[in-house]
Symmetry: C2
Subunit: 132 residues, 2 copies
Amino acid sequence: MKFSKATNYALHTMLMLVDASPIKPVGVQQLAESQGVSPTYLSKILTRLVKAGMIESVTGANGGYRLSRKKDDITFLDIIHAIEGTSSLFECDFLHGEECLIQTVMKEAEEKMEWHLKTTKLADLAQNKTTV
Amino acid sequence: MKFSKATNYALHTMLMLVDASPIKPVGVQQLAESQGVSPTYLSKILTRLVKAGMIESVTGANGGYRLSRKKDDITFLDIIHAIEGTSSLFECDFLHGEECLIQTVMKEAEEKMEWHLKTTKLADLAQNKTTV
DNA sequence: CATTTACAGACTTAATATATCTATAATATC
DNA sequence: GATATTATAGATATATTAAGTCTGTAAATG
Ligand code: SF4
Ligand code: SF4
């Protein structure tokens, strides 16, 4: 039970894009190099963010990635969900009615975490000279 | 990023033990059968709960497992930590100073979840005719 | 002593994460 | 239009972890 490295890469990339130009896209080469990950792998991860509508890609020379939405609209949870999926952290095979207390407790706990991630916008971290 | 099945088994077992006698231990055979898991595997999981001091085991004929602490002292988080470990859900290779905001946000989010799991005692669910 | 039970460790299998490789499509620049 | 540059897709490969099995040992009961 850990966040994947892919999520880590996605968060760092998004942070870089927020601080970058909203017009001129940043190439995956550059994004990957500063994180010590291969460009092709990072590209695969970023494609998920594209499909989630958070960033957009520009093919061809001088292409790359840039934000598509306003910074203020993008939350941590958006990014995490795009990479890790949206299904619940706790799942059981059966479903013993609505009154199952184990599920209730676990789901509530997850919601607490999600609420915090949902209320923290990416813009909150921008311009903070965060290297890498 | 999911809770493991082992955690699921541990939670269900603990719930059964809370509702069982605090004196007469319950055999792993019975605990495993009602969850549809092999006794040897469940035994391996329960050993971690024993080492965490939550339950105690009784070897020999008519042996098994029973609670060692008061129900009220055992929280969800105790059980989860015993199985999943206590390390943080978000980890990065580097450490760019105290002011790293990504880590701060992620850790805070995790703490929200943990707080809920820590304040929910196992006893809160007991006696609720929860089958399986 | 024979039976019942938990425990330990080696081992196997299955599932998932983490990449890599190659070919293709789109775009800019010349 | 030709060429270089970049993202995308899909197949494949490797590594890591989860999930489960098997076998033998130790402890307690009766
Ligand atoms: S008791 Fe709840 S958590 Fe357990 S198997 Fe039933 S529905 Fe799932
Ligand atoms: S910026 Fe923060 S999360 Fe990212 S590598 Fe540095 S310390 Fe880790």
